[in-house]
Point group: C2
Chain length 424, copies 2
Amino acid sequence: MSAGSEPQAATQPFFRSRWVAAPTHVRELGLDAGLPAGFRAAGVAAGIKASGRTDVGLLVCDAQTPASAARFTATGTPAAPVQLSRERCRLGALRVVLANSGCANAATGRRGLDDAAKTQGAAALAAGVDPAEVALASTGGISQLLPVDAVLKGILQAREQLRRDGDTDFQQAIQTTDAFEKRANLELQLPSGVVRLSAQCKGAGMISPRFATMLCFIETDAALAPETADLLLGVCVKRSFDRASVDGQLSTNDTAILMCSGASGVGVAPESEDELRFGEALDALLRQLAIMMVADGEGAGRIARVVVRGGDLQGAEAAARAVANSPLVKAALHGGDPNWGRIVQSVGGALLGTAPLAVDVAIEGIQVCSAGSAIPYDEPALAQAVQRPEVEYEVGLPGEGAETEVFFSDLSHAYVTVNADYHT
Amino acid sequence: MSAGSEPQAATQPFFRSRWVAAPTHVRELGLDAGLPAGFRAAGVAAGIKASGRTDVGLLVCDAQTPASAARFTATGTPAAPVQLSRERCRLGALRVVLANSGCANAATGRRGLDDAAKTQGAAALAAGVDPAEVALASTGGISQLLPVDAVLKGILQAREQLRRDGDTDFQQAIQTTDAFEKRANLELQLPSGVVRLSAQCKGAGMISPRFATMLCFIETDAALAPETADLLLGVCVKRSFDRASVDGQLSTNDTAILMCSGASGVGVAPESEDELRFGEALDALLRQLAIMMVADGEGAGRIARVVVRGGDLQGAEAAARAVANSPLVKAALHGGDPNWGRIVQSVGGALLGTAPLAVDVAIEGIQVCSAGSAIPYDEPALAQAVQRPEVEYEVGLPGEGAETEVFFSDLSHAYVTVNADYHT
């Protein structure tokens, strides 16, 4: 962040984006508060990263009948750990996550799947669970083979260090180009009692393949049925990680996993007030994490939200993603330039066959374009508004109906430096 | 062009890309050879551009029964001149093109259409033709109203300067951020006789809205029926301007117009050998111009072609455009970095629901990925190959069938500078 907020400052609240309302029943605990009851974690340096930094993480749920849910990248070229987790795990009853950074194990074919399976088996043995209860997640360079021996060594080391407050080390083990930590420890006041909710997240953008991936691991000591966990995770991922873009590049390794130990004894029943409140907290948690990922997008200096209203959902979605992924809009955002012609252009480019499209555009509440045509506006006010660290664009399409949003970062010299100037 | 060829050098042949074969029946004439018989052009400085540079161009075909054809941007938010030309012109019998730079007359609504109509009427009066025979083309800033008085003044000035070798000034009138001229004067040996073919083209990339647009005007003294002109222009645009991307941003103003005076007396009949040869020349001309636009893409230092083979056409097309528009692939191209994991990632991101996709990747003929999996390759040779000014990526998808290509430029610091650091 060369402009805008400074997410590193420990004194900042976790819920700090204007686009996320902190639920009133949620209390922020410190980053050293440890994991919810029933969870232990560890992170160790196993030698995968050439830098020698922490690169293997182990997350264990000690509950006898845990519930869990998972979501993965939609890419056609998923990494081996994604394929293995999706196809061979009991995703509703996971007990262990084995994560590594420094190697994505992607584009590694049959050999990559075999390597992943070996580490899955080893983690299962080390934790005393069934291999199908061990999810895998990797992040790092695409095309390199997984150094299996290093991972196995890491598993053995990590097993000895598993503890409630191991989330700090675990977070380190999943980070790559992240400039700052993206994690939270929360306490939720539900009608049926108090529960904990924690998350560790990595991602310097939607994706940058060399240091691929967004990963997010969420733990709670609330007791949820697997179906409830799956429903809530699905809805909240759609409203958070699915709405964030740094460069519009889908990863081979994206993974989000929610694990529920039930150790608090507080149950979250389907369609209950507990479920509503838990869902609100999970939603706010994942949205704030997604926005933090965008703010940590490679080279990001300023972030934005584009809200598209009107038309049908498919058109609104296409328009929102076109604005968010337009290098011209992103460059203008970076320069603090109120160049709204680029918004009209990117929307028009996404909605072929609609000409002439009566599009409305407002920036920070200042309307600049009505029904496809420029209108007079307060130019100094707009020039001031686009200097803010979080800028909001609103696009109106003809007709009632759809509404969607995408969070995105700017396009800076630093992005080019990160992605062009350093060689593989 | 900070690396690669130097298109400015007058000694260079026009057909200089490895991706365009100069037809053997085509001879390159000098840039001062003038327009084909039956055409006159002019370009003047009318005060639209703040810089005071040439900004209004007039192109006139003196034939009694000219034939023509036109193609326009597919955007949902077309500029006023595009709407007017498409809806109110006899596109098969155009006699005049009125072009201006310095203002795109886009996002200007009803007023923009009225302004365009005024200039169309004035050009028609000045040239002694029907308004429906006058096509309009504008390029420049989106959202600003057209300075009609300046354009009218420019029309009067330009009318006095119309001449066969006015294409040099006309070219200046349509350029904006172009770093070098993109035009050609060719002589074609057809079975039925010798004809001339000229083109003037502008575009620093697919589009950059502030200085919007690609425009291309093509003149021949061959005699073509409007249907033949339309067929040939349509096919050749699809293989050239439709396959070029600088930043994946569709313009509000893209326009390509072919005008045929017939003054040579050489007819190009449908399905004749003449048509085949004329089509070959037009194809080579437009492909070379499209590649020159990409090479002149804002900040471009290196250009590339991605060829996708296999699968169905929709999938191949999506994959090719995803590679060409990936900021990660483009940044790697800029850095001369053989980071082919980004190619796999961008193809996978474009082809959802195909996992695991057995994709092949080769760079400059060196295969690096087979059936989705890394294979050993000559790394020093690849590192050398990606330093070339024109780099070729080949992607193979499962199954026989489709084949497509996209030309694209890299993502450089200069692109960010052009689009972020200069304010509107």
